[in-house]
Subunit: 499 residues, 2 copies
């Protein structure tokens, strides 16, 4: 018990450092003037080193061993917390310092090579660096997998999504691939006659901001414990007690800023409520995984935000903020917000196309890691899969193909799957909520913007538990089963074909 | 040399922590939502402890000793840096941990008692706490004075203004008291016939902000390395590479926000340029003292901002920002901005009355520390001095008398003198600049708002040197002599009687 308590003290210190790392990052993206960049970078690096030092101090190993021996004296939450501490410690100590330095140097160099290659649409320029990055990822995966039953690629994925296996993902994605490409064709066919009226007026930024803040209220976001600001890329950050969202505004449409805020409000609600709050400084109050975190933002954005009755509700609210215009009819807003259209760029994709973008990347990454694909064959594989899944060719256009994402240049292999897991978890959770509350009640919530009952269910099923349960257990408690892609299937069919 | 280099590494880390303490404080005053307060407080406390730990680590003592022994191998800037490191180390290690804890508990309690007593105009309520605070300050002064020739009160003052002595201050203030009370009477007499036209229109906040930002430009403030924001009390903070000013806006006048920004720009220019910049993370690049820091803000606010030709310049710029109104005549703006009027509240005082407020507090503090005044006699002493210096009675109104300031409740005895030293340094520096550039050139700068030549001189005389020279040496190099209150005397006479 004494060892465990000492570990709690250490991880509270880590939480306090994370407070400043979060603040430094938020400020960097919202306020910092250009000449502040260098010293902010130095200060962030110094704090990260201190943080690393706290977790990897020799005493931590001894304390974990001793706390584990005495874990019969811990309650369930404490045992879960100890498990998460171990995970953080293992992750921090798995990589030799020499490797960490080498990775930092390579990824720093890779980032600028990737940027230039993408700009020049020149994959060959990126090729040697990509070869090094894949070799590095294999090495990193091997370090992380040591002493576990995981493969190197699984070990990388587990850094973002603890508990995930290649076998499970292969099964899930095989399922998705068996119906999604055809479903997409059917939807595009069904929508082919739809004429969408474009917005005809500009949307002043202050009105857009007022609309965004109104929708944060609709999501019961606690603005006494958070804020909304502007940054180049929307994000949610800082700390659980002071959770800050960002969005950005363009004149032509309110949809980008509003749905950015709805998405981030989903993340923000999870942060503001995550885990048994009396342990707020402890790892057990962290989000369960990146996939689960994304599930909460996608629940807000798609399960609620793009649902037909909710679009109708939004449509009724628009005249309070903007001058009337022909595009503001209920029918047109539905068509506009539920339009499905295959495109090259993942981050611009709708909820139907998005999983296919992720599966494509997952399969390429997995095969690279397992030596089944050579790096020089990536553009060819990309093009083939793009044709098969989305009906588009990227031949000769690697800039909108395999060079479009920053992740590989950061050495972040194993990250992409979390994006699609989020969509599947979200659909599964909504299916379970519909079962418990009834479709009529859920649709009433969506139609009236009274989201309380849905948020209560999210809290009860996901937020309250933080990291107390591992993902399979959490999902089983929340929905009666582990990850099942059929819920996403039914959701997309119901929304885009049957309506 | 090796020891010295190790010390540099340690103080660079301290600088990085100060970066986050500065950011945390700035954010707390500008952005932080209410529920973020507790966790911010915990995080700030944790970082302060870490900072303290870096400076007081046993190795630092050894490194300082060894670096001092080898200091013949250091250049002048390095030797000055070592001296400042020693000062920081001595200051951090002088107080036993037990005392620090006791002071924190007492001042936390004292703050709320003080706030309530002031609100209730009830000195008796504050009396027992003030007694404890004075006892504590004597104890703190004794710790800080150990091994030096300073008295306990001098040791406290030296924490803010290194090198200052009671003897010097007594001389200086005796000089000021010999002419300022009479000068004040003469000025009030001279101005008694002046009728000042009040502002007749509201000033929209966005226009005030534009005016403030324009005047930051006039001060050549580098907005790529800083910002302007809003906070309840104006301040300058963060870090040298990213220096942030704040002000606040009221509808009735632009003077408060503008002169707030001018004052803070003075601080900001010093921060943005302080010391030999290649040593930016080192103590030698800190501001020389609080008095010198204040001298740079008061130079901006009074030596420049309230000078008649500069008021004329400001007046010509007003129509670009606000609708014309009768108060905007040159004559009225001069009268309005140079109005002298004794009042109870120090922070609202004009530059003529201000030093008298400070002398009053200094004399009371000094006598309390030296046992020449009992705490229960403070209101009586305050009233007597207020009558003598400013011709006002505070009898029965301790809320606007001895209870008006927060400093004593914070245990910050010895702080007040820095406020008046700043005004005297500023007048002395301007006299020296006038001598070098000539009155015509200086007045031309003021009249045209082309402040470049004045800022260049400030840089050359003060900013460039940071802590390389101690204060007397710095002032002698800058102005030919150490602190001399006659320059303030001549300045006030020239501005308020002879014009």
């Amino acid at each position: 018990m004494e060892s465990y308590k000492k570990l709690e003290t250490i991880f509270t210190k880590v939480y306090r450092l994370d407070h400043f790392l979060g603040l430094g990052n938020w400020d960097m993206n919202t306020n910092m003037p250009p000449k502040g960049e260098e010293s902010r970078g130095e200060a962030m690096a110094m704090l990260s080193e201190l943080r690393f030092g706290f977790i990897t101090a020799p005493e931590v190993k001894d304390l974990i061993e001793s706390a584990t021996k005495g874990s019969d004296k811990l309650n369930a939450v404490q045992r879960a917390n100890l498990r998460e501490m171990k995970r953080a410690w293992k992750s921090a100590t798995a990589l030799p310092a020499e490797f960490v330095g080498r990775k930092m140097r390579l990824t720093t160099q890779a980032h600028s090579v990737w940027r230039d290659s993408r700009k020049a649409n020149d994959f060959v320029k990126f090729l040697p660096v990509l070869r090094d990055l894949v070799a590095l990822a294999r090495e990193e995966g091997a370090y992380l997998a040591a002493g576990t039953s995981l493969s190197p690629y699984e070990a990388l994925m587990n850094e973002y999504e603890p508990g995930i296996t290649t076998q499970k993902l292969d099964e899930v994605y095989a399922n998705v691939k068996s119906w999604l490409p055809q479903l997409l064709k059917d939807i595009v066919q069904k929508q082919s006659g739809d004429a969408v009226i474009a917005f005809s007026q500009k949307f002043p930024q202050d009105k857009q901001e007022a609309l965004c803040k109104e929708f944060m209220k609709i999501w019961h976001f606690d603005t006494d414990a958070g804020r909304l600001d502007v940054s180049p890329h929307p994000f949610t950050g800082m700390t659980k007690e002071d959770c800050r969202l960002t969005t950005n505004y363009i004149d032509d449409t309110f949809v980008q800023s509003l749905y950015g805020v709805i998405h981030e409000s989903g993340h923000g609600k999870y942060e503001q409520n995550c885990g048994p709050r009396e342990h707020i400084t402890q790892p057990v109050c962290n989000a369960r995984s990146l996939g689960l975190h994304e599930s909460q933002s996608l629940f807000a954005e798609f399960q609620i935000g793009h649902a037909t009755p909710f679009i109708d509700y939004l449509t009724t609210r628009l005249p309070e903020f903007f001058e009337a215009q022909p595009a503001f009819s209920q029918d047109n807003m539905r068509k506009s917000l539920q339009q499905v259209k295959p495109g090259y760029i993942r981050i611009d994709a709708d909820e139907v196309c998005y999983p296919l973008h992720v599966i494509l990347r997952y399969e390429i990454e997995r095969d690279l890691m397992e030596g089944k694909l050579e790096v020089e064959d990536v553009p060819r594989a990309w093009n083939a899969k793009m044709q098969e899944y989305l009906g588009l060719s990227t031949e000769g256009r690697d800039d909108v193909g395999c060079l479009q994402d920053v992740h590989w240049s950061m050495g972040a292999l194993g990250y992409f799957p979390t994006y699609s897991l989020g969509a599947m978890y979200a659909a599964q959770i909504m299916a379970s909520i519909r079962k418990e509350l009834g479709d009529d009640k859920v649709d009433e919530c969506l139609r009236t913007g009274e989201l309380g009952p849905l948020l209560e269910k999210q809290k009860e099923k996901i937020w309250d538990h933080g990291c107390v349960y591992e993902t399979d257990d959490l999902m089983t408690r929340a929905t009666g089963e582990t990850l099942n892609p059929e819920y996403l299937h039914r959701h997309l069919e119901a929304r885009y074909l049957k309506a």
